[in-house]
Symmetry: C2
Amino acid sequence: MTRLSLNQITTKGWSLPEAVQGCVDAGIPAIGLWRDKVAEVGVERAARLCRDAGLAVSSLCRGGFLTADSPEGQRAALADNLRAIEEAAELGTDTLVLVVGGLPEGSRDLVGARGRVRTMLAELAPHAGDLGVRLAIEPLHPMFCADRAVVSTLGQALDLAEPFPVAQVGVVVDSYHVWWDPDLPAQIARAVDRIAAYQVCDWTLPLPADALLGRGHVGDGCIDFGALGSMVAAAGYDGWIEVEIFNQQIWDTPGEQTLATMIERHRAHVATG
Amino acid sequence: MTRLSLNQITTKGWSLPEAVQGCVDAGIPAIGLWRDKVAEVGVERAARLCRDAGLAVSSLCRGGFLTADSPEGQRAALADNLRAIEEAAELGTDTLVLVVGGLPEGSRDLVGARGRVRTMLAELAPHAGDLGVRLAIEPLHPMFCADRAVVSTLGQALDLAEPFPVAQVGVVVDSYHVWWDPDLPAQIARAVDRIAAYQVCDWTLPLPADALLGRGHVGDGCIDFGALGSMVAAAGYDGWIEVEIFNQQIWDTPGEQTLATMIERHRAHVATG
């Protein structure tokens, strides 16, 4: 349990104070925060709540959405990401997760959108570094390429991170998004020093009507967490393991029960290595 | 229009004789057949219908499902694929599309499943070559990795094809399955002489409740067919361009109308290169 973290989206029905208390009651030592939940109580109070409860903040979700093709859209994205970096620093986490954004409405220019991610990272990375925050590029499953993240593989995320100092830009390994990738072992091995976060949940079928909400508890699907965990460990990552689940049925379950299942599955499938 | 082919699934409501007549009426010179539709009339009659109508058979869909982990399952898959090879030869096409299959029920061994595809290909490829049929490995979008095809990228398909003579094993480039891949330009360039089929349809959102049925007419989504077509042409492919669409709304549309839309979109987006 020493590396387990609750990503707050997993207990979407809980406010930030409820999630903090839930972690304390369950003995979970860390929490990954979401900006909307933080905003409900204010950054300062959120930081104090976590600190007073003795909880580490494993990450802040999320910055990103960097693919706007208008100057105004890009300026707004920069401003919002600079705020997110400041919030991360104030909350005491060194990791800001970036979901980079999809294609602009009506666009078919995937190459252009990917290029804008690169340009925007160059603007943001030094500011993040100044505040001791690392931008963690999250490759999302290719089924989200059009509408959510034009970064679709770990290899692509590492290519984007490469020009920047390790302390400024890293990557997220999220089991749900990368498990299918035939190039995954090579890319995780290459990711030494770049893995900023390891997030887990399982691939379950059928996909629901809203494809965003198809993730299951670890152990309920077809991902081999033993193999994946070994690769991530071999790459030198020994940080938090965040459970991040988008699933309406799990969101409708009492939080205490979700945390109990999380812990049981963590012990059975993840913490065995 | 000289390279346009109707993949028969696009007009799912039509029997094989109806689809053949539809192509003739619309001036489409080729058809990609499906085994279930062929079986309804018998292979011999299906072959005669296409021949008498002057239609080329661009491909037969489909063989594959090679990932069974039981000896009986593997024997059954081999037998079925040998039959499919014979049917392809009898129908006068040199291309048998392979959807390789997903994980066996309850399995988390993706590496093992991928290994079985390799083994089974080695069994099948010489038989295909003997009959003048090429096995065309189709990488499917990674969202189908668990249940339909453990081959998820063009690079992976090319790796699988590489040990075999070009005449025995090739790959399918299907816009819907590969458009998101950041490695696509490099892999298409590498695919010289291995591209056995080029299939087109568009990525449209939102994904429907059944993720299999989300494909749209060319031009209705976010795929840049100009760029993709140029890459495929630069790799030396000058064969059929099959329109293959799984979409309930399009299946509910009269076939003549679907073919008219296909032709219009082909002229606007695909045949411009």
